[in-house]
Symmetry: C2
Subunit: 406 residues, 2 copies
């Protein structure tokens, strides 16, 4: 490279890490910034929330990631301002950095959808802290129920996308297999897991056959499905549906969509649907070609699902375009190569749909699901540790008692 470009990558999710990796290998001087000292593997957050894994299993220190390349630095800071005219970013602590190219990959935030009481009474699973809070809340409710200080621990999961289905399925398995051993004081009628979805089916992006497969697997595990039901309000002790039904709820999990965080509007960049930053087909910002956006926050001409694959591919593309631009070439448009989608319902049960139309479910799909998730986990130690946890949770001796809400 003729000159060493300085790139600041803000946000160490899939998009930020993949962009950093490409830029690092291309010899750019990269600073990877995140508001946390770690990167979070979001697809497994539901495992943290349901006590199957620890925080350390699904997070990875950004400084350890950066240590792989001499030309990459990591830094803990929260973005407060983007000054594209000055090619500079500023952070909440008052410091700032100049850049030649900027990658914004900070992700999005929980979308409360304006539902009354949702922000006050429901718990999201978008960040590592969210997952830990939900886990503690479940633990406390169960302990209080066991000790007779609380009537029940009914859980209502709102939203039957992948996160909602995975959370509800895992909680239902815990309820059936683990609770009778760890909380023998609690009677079956004192707990329940309900999944509420406004569509008439779960897992909207999947083919009807797989949706039915997943719904059947959830029912088999004891999940109460409330399909075709829109949530009107979340109270402290209930989820209220549009038709007036009150579902008793001691723990309400908010597994609905996400939206751009409010502070994005302070950055002075064009915003489109859901507050996402408007980008060209090459994923940079109109008028500021040196500012790229990747991941959930990018609002490209053809919106993409908020999954790991699009984020990783956008990150890689953005990294490549910056390296090309630094060599004087103009950026190429991004195109998403869809490998397919998958979601797990519980032990030995998952659904998988390849982009070529092939589908799979049950044990084979579950094994593929595990393989893919573990393969993409960062860092060898995490990989091994997560595999151990997985197999222990599902295949180990005394399998029903070894994982518990703690």
């Amino acid at each position: 490279m003729a000159k060493r470009v300085r790139v600041v990558v803000v946000g160490a999710g899939f998009a930020g890490l993949w962009a950093t990796r490409v830029l690092a290998r291309g010899g750019a001087l990269v600073t990877l910034v995140d508001r946390h000292p770690y990167s979070t593997f979001q697809p497994l957050l539901y495992q943290v929330a349901t006590a199957g894994m620890g925080k350390a299993d699904v997070s990875y220190p950004i400084r350890t990631f950066a240590a792989r390349w001499p030309n990459v630095r990591a830094r803990r800071a929260a973005l407060s301002k983007v000054l594209p005219a000055e090619k500079r970013v500023e952070f909440e602590d008052g410091s700032g950095m100049d850049y030649d190219y900027l990658v914004i990959s900070t992700g999005v935030a929980t979308n409360w959808l304006g539902v009354e009481g949702s922000r006050a009474n429901a718990l999201p699973i978008y960040s590592l802290d969210d997952a830990a809070v939900l886990r503690r809340r479940l633990q406390h409710c169960l302990e209080d129920t066991a000790q007779g200080r609380r009537e029940s621990t009914h859980v209502v999961v709102v939203g039957a996308g992948a996160t909602g289905v995975e959370t509800a399925g895992t909680l239902a398995e815990l309820r059936r297999r683990t609770l009778p051993l760890t909380h023998p004081e609690i009677k079956p009628h004192q707990t329940s897991v309900t999944l509420v979805e406004r569509f008439d089916y779960v897992l909207a992006p999947y083919k009807p056959r797989l949706r039915d497969q997943a719904a059947g697997a959830l029912r088999k595990r004891g999940v109460r499905l409330r399909l075709g039901s829109t949530v009107k309000a979340v109270d402290e002790d209930a989820v209220v549906l549009e038709d007036g039904t009150r579902l008793p709820s001691d723990v309400t999990v908010w597994a609905l969509g996400v939206t751009a965080p409010k502070q994005v509007s302070d950055w002075g960049l064009p915003q489109g649907k859901g507050g996402r930053i408007t980008v060209t087909e090459a994923l940079n910002v109109p008028g500021h070609p040196e500012v790229f956006v990747a991941g959930d926050l990018a609002g490209p001409p053809h919106p993409l699902p908020q999954l790991a694959q699009p984020a990783m591919q956008m990150g890689r593309h953005v990294g490549e375009q910056i390296l090309a631009a630094a060599r004087g070439r103009s950026p190429r448009p991004f195109s998403y190569r869809d490998p397919g989608i998958m979601a797990t319902v519980g032990k030995a049960e998952a659904v998988l749909q390849l982009s070529n139309g092939l589908t799979m479910h049950g044990l084979p799909a579950w094994l593929v699901w595990i393989f893919v998730h573990v393969a993409y986990l960062l860092g060898g130690r995490n990989r091994i540790s997560v595999l151990v946890n997985f197999f222990w949770r599902y295949l180990g001796p005394r399998r029903s008692a070894t994982s518990v809400i703690q």
Copy 2:
């Protein structure tokens, strides 16, 4: 057993778990109570503090432990009152339990020794929360130092017992091997690890040859030893010695002795040295033979070191005596079978001293140390996970960068 005795075990450390195990196998109706929902494996807390392991690696849910036996229940509660005359305990939440026999194994608390500023400015490593707080404090200091918001991250460890030596040794290794990769912005003179000890040697309970071996291993790793130095005060930014020396300290670790927590005096039981509960040779309380004390809080006629082995043996003894008493036999005196002591300094370095006088150091001692610690960890999953972490930390590829203060 003629009748099923009701035993309440308060405190799920080594003593409480071992007592519970014996009582459970003997058919007693046991309730295991702890203020946390988990039991903590204290000997590895320094690994949590130095980011080698996650909280989940060194803790185990008490409800999962109790689930092993149908006659054992677990309960999260903090002891507030012992009413020996009524054979009843009461908890901070206002609830209570009647017992036939009571085991008090709640452990002890940090001993600030009346040193000025110690409680306000030093961090202990006695509980899991302590370890997590220390880890976060280190992470923040290092990040701030890397970003130029703070001059330095000097660590002073007070007390060269096993915990102090293990913490100082591990931090020194992190400083030398990991920091240059993860925090390349920090210059060597901006960090240091100092170990302060009032005796003229480290590891007082060991033979002089092993003390020297450990001291040499610490020095080799770059630990600054201040032996024969008594701490007079702990300031926000320094540790002040009796001779007036101010050791700059950004993070002060309090690895000194422990003492009975204040609330013990509310329990109406006889207390001896250090506030420990006075017990007979059989480990029960004079005048209240159905109340047993095991672990660090027990003040038996011949005081024992505050280690896992004495706690486990006391727990086992207390469990056996209760089973015997329930059958009408009188309790036998406790005698400690000392297997020896060991401490690790860092990678491939430990000291070991058997009670028969045999000593060992270096790699062989380190391997024994790992084996013993992992063998005693509760729960298969933890065992495997901890082994993976250990070998990854010390033997894995890119070994110097895979563990980091996060």
